[in-house]
């Protein structure tokens, strides 16, 4: 019975550690306009970013 309980607990623990926790910062975000980015990175991310903007009209 004890072993059965352990086996039951394992997936719960795995599920708990598997999710990414995003917590909101409690102080205002500092603005740094010194942007250091290569154009190839922009090109690579562009499609994902377009989708992000389209899917979240209130935020963007």
């Amino acid at each position: 019975m004890r072993r059965a309980k352990l086996l039951l607990a394992a997936p719960v623990a795995l599920a708990g550690s598997g999710c990414v926790q995003v917590s909101a910062p409690d102080k205002p975000i500092e603005i740094n306009l010194n942007i250091n980015i290569r154009q190839e990175v922009v090109v690579r991310l562009q499609q994902d970013v377009k989708e992000l903007i389209d899917k979240n009209p209130g935020v963007f």
């Binding site: 942007i35 980015i37 154009q39 922009v42 991310l45 562009q46």
Partner: protein
């Protein structure tokens, strides 16, 4: 009026009130960023976040912060998915917002830190890395 009928009426009114409240809250959320840009009190920055133009009330500041906190969460998520830095996702988003979301007379801020107003339908001059 029977007691039961009164209860049913009260429950109905409560449901209607809660629904109306939620609708208002949703509408405020619906296009918060667009409304902030349109107000002229906030604008888009090259770092991918909204900024306050000039001095602003605490209420406006908190609306801007609220949008930025959500953006930060989305940037963090996408950066992790693509193995990129949060700042890279944010700057790429700014390129796209500058291209598509700033209306005539609305404010934007390039890496030089100066707030400018979009002149009519003239495209915004994009930073070189925007491609």
């Amino acid at each position: 009026m029977s007691r039961r009928l009164k209860l049913i009426l009260a429950a109905g009114i409560t449901v209607a009130a809660v629904t109306a409240g939620a609708t208002v809250a949703y509408a405020m959320q619906g296009d918060a960023a667009a409304e902030l840009r349109a107000s002229g009190q906030a604008g888009e920055q090259a770092d991918g976040y909204l900024g306050v133009v000039g001095s602003a009330s605490a209420a406006l500041r908190s609306q801007v912060d609220s949008v930025n906190i959500k953006r930060r969460a989305y940037y963090t998520d996408l950066a992790a998915k693509r193995g990129a830095k949060i700042e890279e996702v944010a700057a790429t988003t700014a390129c796209e917002l500058f291209r598509t979301k700033i209306g005539a007379g609305q404010y934007y801020r390039l890496p030089d830190g100066v707030w400018r107003q979009r002149d009519g339908t003239t495209p915004i001059p994009l930073p070189g890395y925007c491609g």
